[in-house]
Symmetry: C2
């Protein structure tokens, strides 16, 4: 995969810091699913941990519960249509959902979790079992085992939106199919 | 306060959905503090709940633990300097931290929690006690009791960044004093 490079694990939280919508993917027994999740958030820097809310009704959740693994990745303006498609249909209703979405999948060496091409960054997590949070709040905690980014837009621990192609900007969801792209760099 | 109107509670999660950095404020026994927290995230739509990570070393955390209440609010480009100042000094070290930051505080009727002028939206939460999460992860859960927004930028449950003054754009934190403002509206 062109442009994809590992992210130092102690800086991986910065992929999630800007608050973009994520795609959650998981796989178990050869069956995979991918769904958008806006409610994802860093939880710790090192070991790198994150939270994500995935309702128990979702097909992806069942795969996470069984496999104990999931990925969070940051879809971009360039794959808005695929991101919307992955959120419009449940694999509970259409087993071909992922194929029909147009999303192209790939794998990183050593991890049997499908990742989506065209994202700005990718993080693979091992579930940290927390039955109370999972059952009461559908809140999952994961510890990051590996992170990668498209070096055109995230390099040396910093986002490069201002110099990257505009199609690599992260998506920030409101509701009803309405997103904002991340905007201009601001500093004091 | 001009332009500040209540947000329907079932749409309040949308204030946090776009992933902006927050300011957390709390007050106990007449003492208040405000600090930035990037790791804040919706947890449920109705009742509206959210999570926020607030390290146990922070002065603000002690106020939350004692009072059982906190606010999350969305600072904007227009108060970047005040937001940075609130994150640069701990009230553990300087009791005048909030006053020196330049942040102007105000109150909503019925709630003794200081809110920061110039934010795009404000949410007041009652802590949902979860000792394991609080002690293990510094992860707090709150149930939203009231939400308000600057109607120039959030109205009828929708963000209006494209028509609002640019100073009202939300701030999205990377690290080291570097933020991005929210950008353009994107839809399929």
């Amino acid at each position: 995969m062109d442009n994809i490079f590992p992210v130092e694990i102690e800086k991986a939280y910065r992929l999630l810091n800007v608050g973009g919508t994520t795609l959650v993917s998981a796989k178990c027994d050869g069956v995979c699913d991918v769904m958008p999740a806006t409610w994802a958030c860093p939880l710790d820097v090192l070991p790198c941990k994150a939270t994500v809310v995935v309702d128990s009704s979702h097909f992806t959740r069942k795969l996470i519960d069984k496999s104990g693994m999931f990925a969070l990745q940051l879809p971009t303006v360039g794959i808005l249509r695929e991101t919307m498609a992955l959120g419009s249909v449940s694999k509970n209703d259409d087993p071909e959902k992922v194929e029909k979405s147009g999303a192209e999948l790939f794998y990183m060496d050593g991890f049997d979790i499908p990742l989506v091409k065209g994202c700005a960054g990718w993080m693979i997590f091992k579930r940290v079992p927390e039955p109370h949070n999972e059952q009461t709040y559908d809140l999952l905690i994961g510890e990051c085992l590996g992170a990668w980014a498209d070096a055109r837009v995230f390099k040396n621990g910093h986002w490069k939106f201002e110099s990257a192609p505009s199609g690599l900007r992260t998506l920030h969801y409101v509701a009803g199919g309405n997103f904002y792209a991340i905007g201009d760099a601001i500093s004091v």
